[in-house]
């Protein structure tokens, strides 16, 4: 199709070693899935072609395609103390920690009653729900990154909330890359199955420790049964030189509700690809996002919502603050399939540009195939309004304070909606700490 194959010998060589050493023990179906995924990956290749490449129109992934990232056959070391001070943290949360894509039992702690464990462990046991759900919601056919992750599917998190069940504490999944020798790649995989009428609060954090380039190719699949409610937070705190491609697929059954908040600090290339499929009447999703980019960072949000059935609701609200020479992209489509009447969708992307050299490209689109719908979208871009600044100065605030208030006010529309308090406070702190990077000279 639009994707021209480029070099992926490194991945093929890694795959051989991976199949032999890491993934040897495992059910047959999984082996077949990996083989199929690898075949798809080699066939489609990385989407580096520029012509007619709508899904990657504003993001050139050549640096990823040309980087030689190798699979780290051993988990790295991460200092627990450092982990807990640098990312959102609460001792009250259950947590699963993964270092370089592999589960670290020492750093993890899961509360009683929660069925959250290492995917590798679950796959060895070859039980449900992994067997039924793994790989069902992500399409590997035309997506190199999804195919590559699936080819190397091994460890990650499996979260299962039984019917009518609920986790009393938020569950924190932490994926850390510890800098090792040479550029590495990890393939975190998350599968969340929330059975009917269950409730779950889930936080996914992706972070890097140490210098150097690395690449995270993550896939998360979330299934919501009838009436299930899932609150999802995704915190991206990769290192400035890192590459991150995160694919999230959410499947919603009748009357279920999915609420998601993304917090993304920029990195060399950060891609957040989210698709929510509202696959039954009464299902709804609320997606919010805040991305902060500075330096020469690049963040690409590609958020799609698919209304396949009547009486579905979606809201999307993404905001970006851009400084330096950074580049932010917002793309995404609201699809309303034939017959999906009474769809109610609203999509919004707002951007605040703080520097002369920052660039924002926004492409929010609507594809509507049913008539009785209410759909809309909006996009804005601009800088801090002079009259707002002037008003605050007339009230005796100095320029710096006025600026900080206005930028933080812009961010708070997303952050205030974070319901987990320790998380809200730490995201707020992270935003404040980023201000000097976003606007040099600003004292927060």
């Amino acid at each position: 199709m639009t994707q021209a194959p480029t070099k992926h010998d490194r991945y093929l060589a890694d795959f051989e070693g991976f199949e032999r050493d890491v993934a040897a023990r495992g059910p047959e179906w999984l082996h077949e899935l990996r083989q199929r995924a690898l075949a798809r990956f080699t066939e489609v290749g990385f989407p580096t072609a520029r012509r007619g490449n709508e899904r990657w129109k504003y993001t050139n992934i050549n640096p990823i395609a040309e980087g030689t990232f190798s699979y780290p056959f051993a988990a790295g070391e991460v200092d627990g103390e450092r982990l807990h001070t640098s990312i959102p943290w609460s001792d009250d949360w259950s947590r699963l920690v993964f270092v370089n894509g592999l589960h670290s039992a020492a750093l993890s702690s899961v509360g009683v009653g929660a069925d959250a464990r290492s995917l590798a462990e679950a796959l060895r046991a070859d039980g449900q729900p992994a067997r039924e759900h793994l790989g069902r919601y992500v399409t590997i056919e035309d997506d190199a990154f999804a195919a590559l992750n699936t080819a190397f599917v091994h460890d990650g998190a499996l979260v299962h909330v039984p019917k009518n069940g609920s986790l009393d504490r938020p569950l924190h999944l932490v994926y850390v890359t510890a800098a090792g020798a040479g550029p590495t790649v990890s393939y975190p995989r998350t599968l969340v199955v929330a059975e009917s009428h269950s409730r779950l609060t889930l936080i996914e954090t992706y972070a890097g420790f140490g210098e150097g380039r690395y690449f995270t190719d993550a896939v998360t699949e979330i299934v919501l049964g009838e009436g299930a409610q899932v609150q999802h937070y995704r915190v991206l705190m990769e290192e400035p030189d890192a590459f991150h491609v995160g694919i999230t697929r959410v499947h919603l059954e009748r009357d279920s509700t999915f609420t998601s908040t993304l917090f993304a600090r920029g990195c060399a290339i950060g891609r957040n690809d989210l698709l929510a499929t509202l696959d039954a009447p009464g299902s709804s999703c609320f997606l919010r996002g805040l991305y902060l980019t500075s330096g020469s960072q690049h963040v690409d949000n590609y958020v799609n919502i698919d209304h396949t059935q009547p009486h579905t609701t979606s809201r999307l609200y993404y905001k970006g603050i851009l400084g330096g020479k950074s580049h932010a992209v917002f793309g995404g489509t609201v699809f309303v399939r034939p017959g999906a009447v009474k769809a109610d969708a609203r999509q919004e992307d707002k951007n605040l540009l703080l520097s002369d050299e920052a660039e924002v490209d926004s492409k929010p689109s609507l594809e509507i195939y049913a008539d009785d719908v209410l759909c809309g979208h909006g996009a804005t871009a601009g800088t801090v309004a002079d009259d707002a600044l002037f008003y605050m100065r007339t009230r005796g605030l100095d320029l710096n304070t006025a600026m900080v208030h206005l930028i933080k006010g812009f961010a708070s529309e997303v952050l205030d909606k974070v319901e987990v308090e320790p998380l809200r406070l730490s995201l707020d702190r992270l935003t404040t700490a980023s201000l000097p990077e976003l606007q040099p000279g600003l004292v927060s």
Binding site: L366, I368, D371, V373, G378, A379, T383
Partner: protein
């Protein structure tokens, strides 16, 4: 004294409009046809027929060679689908005149005059429309241009491109291809190689064109394509309002229309360009109809210049067009007002591009899409604010109305901002005719069908009011007939 403008299109009273496509008649004229197919000889033949100077032939040949070198075919990114086009199965030149273009209307075949009379465009001196100068283009050739005297008094040049090449070659040479180069896109390259005729207008400095300029395009010959090229230049401080209308006979086969329009507004000049596109849309099953693949672009080149596009797109089997403005001069203004309607099996992928280069440039986009039957309607637009465009301002509003459950409406805006002082806003909505509004009108004793039309008319009002008055009346009638069978 300004005489009231009347485009007395007698053909378009609402009673007549209740029938199917009423401009679908064929004029029995034996055309002067070049052989089917496209090669360098055809390009040379067209150029020779038009007595063109050497430089123009060279330019055509360059375009032709570029076109043949293109590895990809037609652009396929638009949300329209059509079978491959056989470019060797098209007549690239078709003229209603056997010999030279007639000097006066008396020499024109009465059938031809009758054809335009039927379309509501009388060409005879005594019956001419007041306040409108018309250039009538039939297949590949301009038949007649009215009101020449009045225009000449003001120093305005308004004629076919072929005449302009003879009359003022330096202007044509300077501006032809300056806004849409022959390398621009597949159809623009094709058009540059084989363009047959089209309209040229030049308004000298400081002149406010006293009448509306109008071109009426008519495709007649079966199997012929129409490749006209329009070039309008508004010199410093001038103003011109230009109208464009088009129809074609009903045919079972598809006809290709690949035009290029270039507008240039110099310092303080303003060009207002209005289109009423009513090419044959094909029948209820989607057979036949015109493929309207058009490249239109204006350059607000000078300071304080303004280019404004207004389009009402009701015809064509497929519409692929993006009238754009390059806002180059400081303080320049670009506007785009559009109503695009699809019914039955029509497909439209249309919108605009606003490229902000100059400081304090402003653009407004108001696009209204109506989908009915099994039609598919896409708004696709680009707003690009370059680093040099300090204080640029854009406002975009796209609304889509869906009538029936088999149609589709899409909105695909591209927004690229590279200057922090720019302010841009984009808003879009998609919905059906509101039940509440219908209920209100119904309880006032208005029939459902009438109520629907009232609401749809209201939906399009913001665009219609940008059209010259009579054009607006006609547009609203056109909308009604195009929606026949879809509402009520």
């Amino acid at each position: 004294m300004v005489a009231p403008k009347v485009i007395s299109r007698k053909a378009t009273t609402s009673k007549d409009l209740e029938k199917e496509y009423k401009w679908g008649f064929v004029t029995p004229i034996e055309p002067d046809l070049a052989p089917k197919g496209l090669n360098e000889d055809i390009v040379r033949l067209i150029s020779r027929k038009k007595n063109e100077p050497e430089w123009l032939l060279e330019w055509r040949l360059k375009a032709y060679r570029y076109w043949t070198s293109l590895k990809y075919g037609e652009p396929r990114w638009a949300k329209v689908s059509f079978p491959p086009i056989d470019y060797q199965d098209i007549y690239y030149y078709s003229s209603p005149f056997k010999e030279k273009r007639p000097e006066s209307l008396d020499e024109v075949d009465p059938e031809l005059v009758e054809a335009f009379r039927k379309l509501g465009i009388p060409l005879e001196e005594q019956k001419k429309l007041t306040g409108v100068a018309v250039d009538a283009v039939f297949d590949s050739v301009s038949v007649a241009t009215t009101l020449q005297k009045t225009l000449e008094e003001h120093g305005i040049i308004f004629c076919s491109v072929s005449e302009a090449v003879e009359k003022c070659p330096e202007l044509v040479r300077k501006y032809l291809g300056s806004v849409v180069p022959y390398t621009d896109n597949f159809f623009a390259s094709l058009n540059s190689a084989v363009f047959s005729d089209g309209t040229f207008a030049y308004v000298p400095p400081g002149v406010r064109c006293p009448v509306e300029l109008m071109t009426y395009f008519r495709i007649n010959t079966e199997g012929s394509g129409q490749f006209e090229r329009t070039l309008i230049i508004a010199d410093k401080g001038s103003y011109v309002s230009y109208l464009e209308g088009c129809t074609a006979p009903m045919r079972k086969t598809h006809q290709l229309h690949a035009a290029v329009v270039e507008l240039i507004a110099l310092d303080d000049a303003e060009i207002k360009y209005s289109t009423l596109q009513n090419w044959y849309p094909g029948d209820k099953e989607g057979r036949g109809g015109v493929y309207n693949f058009v490249t239109k672009r204006g350059k607000a080149a000078g300071r304080n210049s303004k280019v404004s596009w207004t389009q009402v797109e009701t015809g064509s089997a497929i519409t692929w067009k993006y009238p754009s403005v390059i806002l180059q001069g400081d303080n320049s203004v670009g506007e785009f007002y559009s109503v695009a309607l699809v019914n039955n099996h029509q497909q439209a992928d249309t919108g605009t591009k606003m490229i902000h280069l100059g400081k304090n440039t402003r653009s407004t986009i108001i696009a209204k899409g109506i989908s009915a039957g099994q039609g598919s309607n896409t708004y696709r637009g680009l707003v690009k604010i370059m680093p040099s465009a300090a204080n640029a301002r854009n406002f975009t509003r796209c609304d889509s109305l869906l009538i029936g459950d088999k149609c589709a409406a899409h909105t695909v805006p591209y927004i690229e901002v590279r200057n922090p002082t720019a302010r841009m806003e984009h808003e879009a909505t998609t919905s059906k005719v509101s039940d509440d509004q219908l209920f209100y009108l119904r309880q006032r004793g208005i029939t459902e069908e009438q109520a629907q039309y009232m609401i749809i008319n209201g939906f399009c009002r913001g665009v219609f009011q940008e059209l010259p008055f009579e054009f607006a009346m006609e547009a609203s009638q056109l909308l009604k007939v195009s929606l026949e069978g879809a509402v009520g």
